[in-house]
Symmetry: C3
Subunit: 145 residues, 3 copies
Protein backbone atom coordinates (compact mmCIF):
# COMPACT_ATOMS: atom_id res chain seq x y z
CA UNK A 1 0.00 0.00 0.00
CA UNK A 2 -0.74 2.47 -1.39
CA UNK A 3 -1.49 0.94 -4.78
CA UNK A 4 -3.24 2.84 -7.53
CA UNK A 5 -4.44 0.56 -10.33
CA UNK A 6 -5.79 2.03 -13.56
CA UNK A 7 -8.07 -0.06 -15.81
CA UNK A 8 -9.09 1.41 -19.16
CA UNK A 9 -10.60 0.69 -22.54
CA UNK A 10 -8.04 -0.27 -25.21
CA UNK A 11 -9.08 2.55 -27.56
CA UNK A 12 -7.29 4.99 -25.23
CA UNK A 13 -3.90 3.31 -25.61
CA UNK A 14 -3.04 5.23 -28.79
CA UNK A 15 -4.74 8.46 -27.73
CA UNK A 16 -3.01 9.34 -24.49
CA UNK A 17 0.31 8.81 -22.71
CA UNK A 18 -0.59 6.49 -19.85
CA UNK A 19 2.98 6.30 -18.58
CA UNK A 20 2.86 10.07 -18.11
CA UNK A 21 -0.45 9.75 -16.25
CA UNK A 22 1.05 7.12 -13.94
CA UNK A 23 3.99 9.41 -13.18
CA UNK A 24 1.75 12.44 -12.60
CA UNK A 25 -0.45 10.47 -10.20
CA UNK A 26 2.54 9.08 -8.28
CA UNK A 27 3.96 12.60 -8.02
CA UNK A 28 0.59 13.84 -6.75
CA UNK A 29 0.61 11.16 -4.07
CA UNK A 30 4.18 11.96 -3.03
CA UNK A 31 3.42 15.62 -2.31
CA UNK A 32 0.35 15.01 -0.14
CA UNK A 33 0.81 16.22 3.43
CA UNK A 34 -1.50 15.89 6.42
CA UNK A 35 -2.43 18.72 8.82
CA UNK A 36 0.83 18.16 10.72
CA UNK A 37 2.88 18.46 7.52
CA UNK A 38 3.73 14.76 7.45
CA UNK A 39 3.81 12.85 4.15
CA UNK A 40 0.53 10.98 3.69
CA UNK A 41 2.10 8.17 1.65
CA UNK A 42 5.47 6.46 2.16
CA UNK A 43 7.66 7.29 -0.85
CA UNK A 44 9.02 3.74 -1.13
CA UNK A 45 5.50 2.31 -1.18
CA UNK A 46 3.85 4.54 -3.76
CA UNK A 47 2.92 2.43 -6.79
CA UNK A 48 0.82 3.11 -9.87
CA UNK A 49 0.07 0.39 -12.42
CA UNK A 50 -2.04 0.79 -15.60
CA UNK A 51 -3.76 -1.92 -17.64
CA UNK A 52 -5.56 -1.53 -20.95
CA UNK A 53 -8.32 -4.11 -21.27
CA UNK A 54 -8.09 -6.68 -24.05
CA UNK A 55 -11.88 -6.53 -24.50
CA UNK A 56 -14.53 -4.13 -23.29
CA UNK A 57 -18.17 -3.12 -23.55
CA UNK A 58 -19.27 0.29 -22.38
CA UNK A 59 -22.83 1.42 -21.87
CA UNK A 60 -25.09 0.91 -24.90
CA UNK A 61 -22.13 0.38 -27.22
CA UNK A 62 -22.44 3.71 -28.97
CA UNK A 63 -26.14 4.12 -29.79
CA UNK A 64 -26.71 7.24 -27.71
CA UNK A 65 -23.34 8.64 -28.71
CA UNK A 66 -24.15 8.37 -32.41
CA UNK A 67 -27.64 9.80 -31.83
CA UNK A 68 -25.95 12.80 -30.19
CA UNK A 69 -23.84 13.35 -33.30
CA UNK A 70 -20.69 11.56 -32.16
CA UNK A 71 -19.05 8.44 -33.57
CA UNK A 72 -20.29 6.23 -30.74
CA UNK A 73 -16.79 5.26 -29.66
CA UNK A 74 -16.90 5.37 -25.88
CA UNK A 75 -13.78 5.32 -23.74
CA UNK A 76 -13.52 4.70 -20.04
CA UNK A 77 -10.88 4.89 -17.29
CA UNK A 78 -11.25 3.44 -13.81
CA UNK A 79 -8.70 4.52 -11.21
CA UNK A 80 -8.71 2.66 -7.92
CA UNK A 81 -6.44 3.63 -5.07
CA UNK A 82 -6.19 1.12 -2.29
CA UNK A 83 -4.47 2.31 0.85
CA UNK A 84 -4.27 1.31 4.48
CA UNK A 85 -6.95 2.46 6.90
CA UNK A 86 -6.34 5.05 9.61
CA UNK A 87 -6.04 8.35 7.77
CA UNK A 88 -8.56 11.09 8.64
CA UNK A 89 -11.60 11.61 6.39
CA UNK A 90 -10.21 15.06 5.56
CA UNK A 91 -6.95 13.55 4.32
CA UNK A 92 -8.81 10.95 2.27
CA UNK A 93 -10.89 13.64 0.55
CA UNK A 94 -7.83 15.84 0.03
CA UNK A 95 -5.97 12.97 -1.65
CA UNK A 96 -8.98 11.93 -3.74
CA UNK A 97 -9.52 15.51 -4.88
CA UNK A 98 -5.83 15.93 -5.74
CA UNK A 99 -5.69 12.69 -7.75
CA UNK A 100 -8.95 13.50 -9.53
CA UNK A 101 -7.61 16.94 -10.43
CA UNK A 102 -4.45 15.37 -11.87
CA UNK A 103 -6.49 12.88 -13.88
CA UNK A 104 -8.86 15.59 -15.13
CA UNK A 105 -5.93 17.75 -16.22
CA UNK A 106 -4.40 14.79 -18.07
CA UNK A 107 -7.63 14.01 -19.92
CA UNK A 108 -8.98 17.56 -20.34
CA UNK A 109 -8.22 17.85 -24.05
CA UNK A 110 -9.44 14.32 -24.83
CA UNK A 111 -12.63 14.97 -22.84
CA UNK A 112 -13.42 17.81 -25.26
CA UNK A 113 -12.89 15.60 -28.29
CA UNK A 114 -14.47 12.24 -27.57
CA UNK A 115 -16.92 10.29 -25.45
CA UNK A 116 -15.02 9.59 -22.24
CA UNK A 117 -15.87 8.54 -18.72
CA UNK A 118 -13.48 8.49 -15.77
CA UNK A 119 -14.10 7.25 -12.24
CA UNK A 120 -11.67 7.51 -9.34
CA UNK A 121 -12.34 5.58 -6.17
CA UNK A 122 -10.32 5.31 -2.99
CA UNK A 123 -10.65 2.22 -0.80
CA UNK A 124 -9.26 1.88 2.69
CA UNK A 125 -8.21 -1.74 2.75
CA UNK A 126 -8.18 -3.90 5.84
CA UNK A 127 -6.32 -7.00 4.68
CA UNK A 128 -6.27 -10.05 6.95
CA UNK A 129 -2.59 -10.50 6.14
CA UNK A 130 -0.07 -7.94 4.95
CA UNK A 131 3.49 -9.03 4.22
CA UNK A 132 6.37 -7.24 2.54
CA UNK A 133 9.77 -8.00 1.01
CA UNK A 134 11.40 -4.84 -0.24
CA UNK A 135 14.63 -2.96 -0.65
CA UNK A 136 12.75 0.15 -1.80
CA UNK A 137 11.64 1.46 1.58
CA UNK A 138 15.23 1.56 2.98
CA UNK A 139 16.19 3.97 0.16
CA UNK A 140 13.98 6.54 1.88
CA UNK A 141 14.73 5.59 5.48
CA UNK A 142 18.50 5.02 5.42
CA UNK A 143 18.75 5.23 9.19
CA UNK A 144 16.27 2.38 9.57
CA UNK A 145 17.68 0.17 6.82
CA UNK B 1 -19.79 1.99 -10.81
CA UNK B 2 -20.95 -0.48 -11.84
CA UNK B 3 -17.76 -2.08 -13.12
CA UNK B 4 -17.59 -5.70 -14.22
CA UNK B 5 -14.01 -6.94 -14.57
CA UNK B 6 -13.29 -10.33 -16.15
CA UNK B 7 -9.98 -12.09 -15.43
CA UNK B 8 -9.24 -15.32 -17.30
CA UNK B 9 -6.60 -17.85 -18.26
CA UNK B 10 -4.82 -17.05 -21.54
CA UNK B 11 -5.74 -20.40 -23.13
CA UNK B 12 -9.31 -19.10 -23.52
CA UNK B 13 -8.29 -16.15 -25.69
CA UNK B 14 -8.34 -18.23 -28.89
CA UNK B 15 -11.31 -20.37 -27.90
CA UNK B 16 -14.05 -17.86 -27.23
CA UNK B 17 -15.13 -14.36 -28.25
CA UNK B 18 -14.55 -12.32 -25.12
CA UNK B 19 -15.67 -9.08 -26.76
CA UNK B 20 -19.03 -10.74 -27.39
CA UNK B 21 -19.19 -11.84 -23.76
CA UNK B 22 -18.47 -8.28 -22.58
CA UNK B 23 -21.28 -6.96 -24.79
CA UNK B 24 -23.73 -9.66 -23.65
CA UNK B 25 -22.99 -8.93 -19.99
CA UNK B 26 -23.36 -5.17 -20.47
CA UNK B 27 -26.67 -5.75 -22.25
CA UNK B 28 -27.79 -7.98 -19.38
CA UNK B 29 -26.99 -5.22 -16.91
CA UNK B 30 -28.79 -2.59 -18.99
CA UNK B 31 -32.11 -4.49 -18.97
CA UNK B 32 -32.21 -5.13 -15.21
CA UNK B 33 -35.21 -3.49 -13.54
CA UNK B 34 -36.12 -3.28 -9.86
CA UNK B 35 -39.57 -4.01 -8.40
CA UNK B 36 -40.68 -0.47 -9.31
CA UNK B 37 -39.59 -0.94 -12.92
CA UNK B 38 -36.62 1.38 -12.57
CA UNK B 39 -33.30 0.61 -14.25
CA UNK B 40 -30.93 -1.01 -11.73
CA UNK B 41 -27.79 0.34 -13.42
CA UNK B 42 -27.20 3.77 -14.98
CA UNK B 43 -26.67 3.24 -18.74
CA UNK B 44 -23.80 5.73 -18.91
CA UNK B 45 -22.00 4.00 -16.06
CA UNK B 46 -22.19 0.38 -17.20
CA UNK B 47 -18.68 -0.86 -17.95
CA UNK B 48 -17.26 -4.31 -18.67
CA UNK B 49 -13.52 -4.87 -19.08
CA UNK B 50 -11.82 -8.24 -19.78
CA UNK B 51 -8.19 -9.21 -19.16
CA UNK B 52 -6.45 -12.44 -20.17
CA UNK B 53 -3.67 -13.26 -17.72
CA UNK B 54 -0.10 -13.36 -19.00
CA UNK B 55 0.65 -16.28 -16.67
CA UNK B 56 -1.54 -18.62 -14.65
CA UNK B 57 -1.62 -21.75 -12.54
CA UNK B 58 -4.89 -23.54 -11.92
CA UNK B 59 -5.50 -26.25 -9.38
CA UNK B 60 -3.07 -29.21 -9.63
CA UNK B 61 -1.89 -28.17 -13.09
CA UNK B 62 -3.70 -30.95 -14.92
CA UNK B 63 -2.97 -34.14 -12.96
CA UNK B 64 -6.58 -34.92 -12.04
CA UNK B 65 -7.79 -33.82 -15.45
CA UNK B 66 -5.49 -36.25 -17.24
CA UNK B 67 -6.37 -39.03 -14.79
CA UNK B 68 -10.01 -38.44 -15.71
CA UNK B 69 -9.22 -38.91 -19.39
CA UNK B 70 -8.85 -35.26 -20.36
CA UNK B 71 -5.80 -33.37 -21.60
CA UNK B 72 -5.23 -31.62 -18.28
CA UNK B 73 -5.58 -28.18 -19.80
CA UNK B 74 -7.66 -26.26 -17.27
CA UNK B 75 -9.28 -22.93 -18.06
CA UNK B 76 -10.76 -20.43 -15.65
CA UNK B 77 -12.83 -17.24 -15.77
CA UNK B 78 -13.40 -14.89 -12.85
CA UNK B 79 -16.12 -12.27 -13.23
CA UNK B 80 -16.29 -9.59 -10.56
CA UNK B 81 -19.01 -6.97 -10.55
CA UNK B 82 -18.41 -4.08 -8.22
CA UNK B 83 -21.37 -1.77 -7.71
CA UNK B 84 -22.48 0.81 -5.21
CA UNK B 85 -24.26 -0.27 -2.05
CA UNK B 86 -27.96 0.37 -1.40
CA UNK B 87 -29.79 -2.03 -3.72
CA UNK B 88 -32.09 -4.62 -2.12
CA UNK B 89 -30.81 -8.18 -1.59
CA UNK B 90 -33.48 -9.34 -4.04
CA UNK B 91 -32.13 -7.05 -6.75
CA UNK B 92 -28.57 -8.17 -6.07
CA UNK B 93 -29.54 -11.84 -6.46
CA UNK B 94 -31.60 -11.07 -9.55
CA UNK B 95 -28.65 -9.31 -11.18
CA UNK B 96 -26.18 -12.00 -10.14
CA UNK B 97 -28.45 -14.73 -11.49
CA UNK B 98 -28.97 -12.87 -14.76
CA UNK B 99 -25.25 -12.28 -15.30
CA UNK B 100 -24.41 -15.88 -14.39
CA UNK B 101 -27.04 -17.11 -16.86
CA UNK B 102 -25.50 -14.94 -19.59
CA UNK B 103 -22.01 -16.23 -18.80
CA UNK B 104 -23.21 -19.85 -18.69
CA UNK B 105 -24.91 -19.48 -22.05
CA UNK B 106 -21.75 -18.00 -23.54
CA UNK B 107 -19.56 -20.83 -22.26
CA UNK B 108 -22.06 -23.72 -22.54
CA UNK B 109 -20.46 -25.34 -25.59
CA UNK B 110 -16.92 -24.89 -24.28
CA UNK B 111 -17.96 -26.32 -20.91
CA UNK B 112 -18.91 -29.52 -22.71
CA UNK B 113 -15.56 -29.75 -24.47
CA UNK B 114 -12.87 -28.82 -21.96
CA UNK B 115 -11.96 -28.41 -18.31
CA UNK B 116 -13.42 -25.04 -17.37
CA UNK B 117 -14.26 -23.21 -14.17
CA UNK B 118 -16.19 -19.96 -13.90
CA UNK B 119 -16.92 -17.87 -10.83
CA UNK B 120 -19.09 -14.76 -10.72
CA UNK B 121 -19.05 -12.56 -7.64
CA UNK B 122 -20.85 -9.32 -6.90
CA UNK B 123 -19.37 -6.87 -4.40
CA UNK B 124 -21.17 -3.87 -3.02
CA UNK B 125 -18.39 -1.35 -2.73
CA UNK B 126 -18.23 1.41 -0.16
CA UNK B 127 -15.34 3.55 -1.38
CA UNK B 128 -14.03 6.28 0.90
CA UNK B 129 -13.84 8.59 -2.09
CA UNK B 130 -15.77 8.45 -5.36
CA UNK B 131 -15.07 11.05 -8.04
CA UNK B 132 -16.17 11.27 -11.66
CA UNK B 133 -15.31 13.12 -14.85
CA UNK B 134 -17.56 12.03 -17.68
CA UNK B 135 -19.44 13.11 -20.73
CA UNK B 136 -21.11 9.69 -21.01
CA UNK B 137 -23.80 10.11 -18.36
CA UNK B 138 -25.22 13.28 -19.98
CA UNK B 139 -25.90 11.27 -23.17
CA UNK B 140 -28.57 9.43 -21.21
CA UNK B 141 -29.82 12.36 -19.12
CA UNK B 142 -29.96 15.16 -21.68
CA UNK B 143 -32.16 17.28 -19.43
CA UNK B 144 -29.55 17.18 -16.70
CA UNK B 145 -26.52 17.71 -18.89
CA UNK C 1 -12.35 -18.42 -4.42
CA UNK C 2 -9.52 -18.61 -3.63
CA UNK C 3 -8.07 -16.32 -6.28
CA UNK C 4 -4.51 -15.05 -6.14
CA UNK C 5 -3.91 -12.18 -8.56
CA UNK C 6 -0.38 -10.88 -9.17
CA UNK C 7 0.15 -7.38 -10.57
CA UNK C 8 3.69 -6.31 -11.43
CA UNK C 9 5.84 -3.79 -13.24
CA UNK C 10 6.62 -4.72 -16.85
CA UNK C 11 10.41 -4.59 -16.33
CA UNK C 12 10.14 -7.90 -14.42
CA UNK C 13 8.67 -9.78 -17.37
CA UNK C 14 12.08 -10.57 -18.87
CA UNK C 15 13.86 -11.03 -15.54
CA UNK C 16 11.88 -13.76 -13.85
CA UNK C 17 9.69 -16.75 -14.72
CA UNK C 18 6.24 -15.64 -13.62
CA UNK C 19 4.61 -18.87 -14.79
CA UNK C 20 6.89 -20.73 -12.37
CA UNK C 21 5.91 -18.33 -9.58
CA UNK C 22 2.21 -18.93 -10.29
CA UNK C 23 2.76 -22.70 -10.10
CA UNK C 24 4.82 -22.45 -6.90
CA UNK C 25 2.14 -20.32 -5.23
CA UNK C 26 -0.67 -22.66 -6.31
CA UNK C 27 1.32 -25.63 -4.97
CA UNK C 28 1.85 -23.76 -1.70
CA UNK C 29 -1.88 -23.21 -1.41
CA UNK C 30 -2.67 -26.85 -2.19
CA UNK C 31 -0.55 -28.20 0.66
CA UNK C 32 -1.98 -25.93 3.38
CA UNK C 33 -3.74 -27.87 6.13
CA UNK C 34 -5.69 -26.61 9.13
CA UNK C 35 -5.27 -27.86 12.72
CA UNK C 36 -7.53 -30.82 11.94
CA UNK C 37 -5.43 -31.80 8.93
CA UNK C 38 -8.04 -30.70 6.43
CA UNK C 39 -7.06 -28.93 3.20
CA UNK C 40 -7.47 -25.17 3.62
CA UNK C 41 -8.22 -24.57 -0.07
CA UNK C 42 -10.34 -26.68 -2.44
CA UNK C 43 -8.02 -28.09 -5.12
CA UNK C 44 -10.48 -27.42 -7.93
CA UNK C 45 -10.85 -23.80 -6.88
CA UNK C 46 -7.20 -22.79 -6.50
CA UNK C 47 -6.38 -20.17 -9.13
CA UNK C 48 -3.37 -17.91 -9.66
CA UNK C 49 -3.32 -15.27 -12.42
CA UNK C 50 -0.44 -12.85 -13.15
CA UNK C 51 -0.58 -9.56 -15.05
CA UNK C 52 2.34 -7.34 -16.06
CA UNK C 53 1.25 -3.71 -16.20
CA UNK C 54 1.41 -1.90 -19.52
CA UNK C 55 2.49 1.30 -17.74
CA UNK C 56 3.74 2.02 -14.24
CA UNK C 57 5.23 4.62 -11.94
CA UNK C 58 6.95 3.56 -8.75
CA UNK C 59 7.96 5.86 -5.92
CA UNK C 60 10.14 8.80 -6.99
CA UNK C 61 10.91 7.23 -10.36
CA UNK C 62 14.49 6.33 -9.53
CA UNK C 63 15.98 9.43 -7.91
CA UNK C 64 16.74 7.84 -4.54
CA UNK C 65 17.83 4.61 -6.23
CA UNK C 66 20.41 6.41 -8.35
CA UNK C 67 21.57 8.47 -5.37
CA UNK C 68 22.18 5.18 -3.56
CA UNK C 69 24.41 3.99 -6.40
CA UNK C 70 21.83 1.93 -8.30
CA UNK C 71 20.41 2.46 -11.76
CA UNK C 72 17.11 3.79 -10.46
CA UNK C 73 15.08 1.07 -12.15
CA UNK C 74 12.50 0.09 -9.55
CA UNK C 75 10.43 -3.08 -9.82
CA UNK C 76 7.33 -3.99 -7.89
CA UNK C 77 5.08 -7.02 -7.38
CA UNK C 78 1.69 -6.97 -5.68
CA UNK C 79 0.17 -10.33 -4.75
CA UNK C 80 -3.43 -10.29 -3.60
CA UNK C 81 -5.16 -13.43 -2.40
CA UNK C 82 -8.89 -13.18 -2.07
CA UNK C 83 -10.57 -16.04 -0.28
CA UNK C 84 -13.86 -16.70 1.45
CA UNK C 85 -14.32 -15.70 5.08
CA UNK C 86 -14.57 -18.21 7.91
CA UNK C 87 -11.04 -19.54 8.35
CA UNK C 88 -9.35 -19.02 11.73
CA UNK C 89 -6.88 -16.12 12.15
CA UNK C 90 -4.15 -18.72 12.73
CA UNK C 91 -4.87 -20.38 9.38
CA UNK C 92 -4.90 -17.01 7.60
CA UNK C 93 -1.48 -16.12 9.04
CA UNK C 94 -0.13 -19.57 8.27
CA UNK C 95 -1.24 -19.28 4.63
CA UNK C 96 0.03 -15.71 4.31
CA UNK C 97 3.40 -16.67 5.77
CA UNK C 98 3.67 -19.70 3.49
CA UNK C 99 2.83 -17.71 0.35
CA UNK C 100 5.20 -14.90 1.33
CA UNK C 101 7.98 -17.45 1.91
CA UNK C 102 7.37 -18.92 -1.56
CA UNK C 103 7.42 -15.47 -3.15
CA UNK C 104 10.58 -14.47 -1.24
CA UNK C 105 12.34 -17.65 -2.34
CA UNK C 106 11.34 -16.99 -5.95
CA UNK C 107 12.65 -13.42 -5.90
CA UNK C 108 15.63 -13.90 -3.53
CA UNK C 109 18.32 -13.67 -6.22
CA UNK C 110 16.64 -10.74 -7.98
CA UNK C 111 16.22 -8.94 -4.65
CA UNK C 112 20.02 -9.01 -4.28
CA UNK C 113 20.55 -7.55 -7.74
CA UNK C 114 18.00 -4.80 -8.25
CA UNK C 115 15.58 -2.39 -6.61
CA UNK C 116 12.51 -4.52 -5.89
CA UNK C 117 9.45 -4.24 -3.70
CA UNK C 118 6.93 -7.01 -3.05
CA UNK C 119 3.69 -6.86 -1.09
CA UNK C 120 1.41 -9.81 -0.33
CA UNK C 121 -2.05 -9.18 1.06
CA UNK C 122 -4.82 -11.59 1.93
CA UNK C 123 -8.43 -10.41 1.86
CA UNK C 124 -11.36 -12.36 3.22
CA UNK C 125 -14.07 -11.50 0.76
CA UNK C 126 -17.74 -11.32 1.57
CA UNK C 127 -19.38 -11.04 -1.83
CA UNK C 128 -23.07 -10.23 -2.01
CA UNK C 129 -23.45 -12.85 -4.74
CA UNK C 130 -21.28 -15.86 -5.48
CA UNK C 131 -22.13 -18.10 -8.41
CA UNK C 132 -20.22 -20.91 -10.07
CA UNK C 133 -20.22 -22.95 -13.27
CA UNK C 134 -17.44 -25.50 -13.25
CA UNK C 135 -16.39 -28.99 -14.21
CA UNK C 136 -13.11 -28.62 -12.30
CA UNK C 137 -14.41 -29.25 -8.78
CA UNK C 138 -15.93 -32.64 -9.71
CA UNK C 139 -12.47 -33.87 -10.76
CA UNK C 140 -11.51 -33.75 -7.08
CA UNK C 141 -14.83 -34.89 -5.64
CA UNK C 142 -15.80 -37.75 -7.98
CA UNK C 143 -18.35 -39.11 -5.50
CA UNK C 144 -20.18 -35.79 -5.49
CA UNK C 145 -19.98 -35.19 -9.23
Amino acid sequence: MPHLVILYTPNLEAETDMTALCRALADTMLVQRDAAGKAVFPPGGTRVLAYPAAHAAISDGGVAGRAAGGNGDYAFVYLNLRMGAGRTPEVVVQCGDALLATAKAHFAALHEQRHLGLTLQVDEGAPSYDGKFSNLHPLFNPGKA
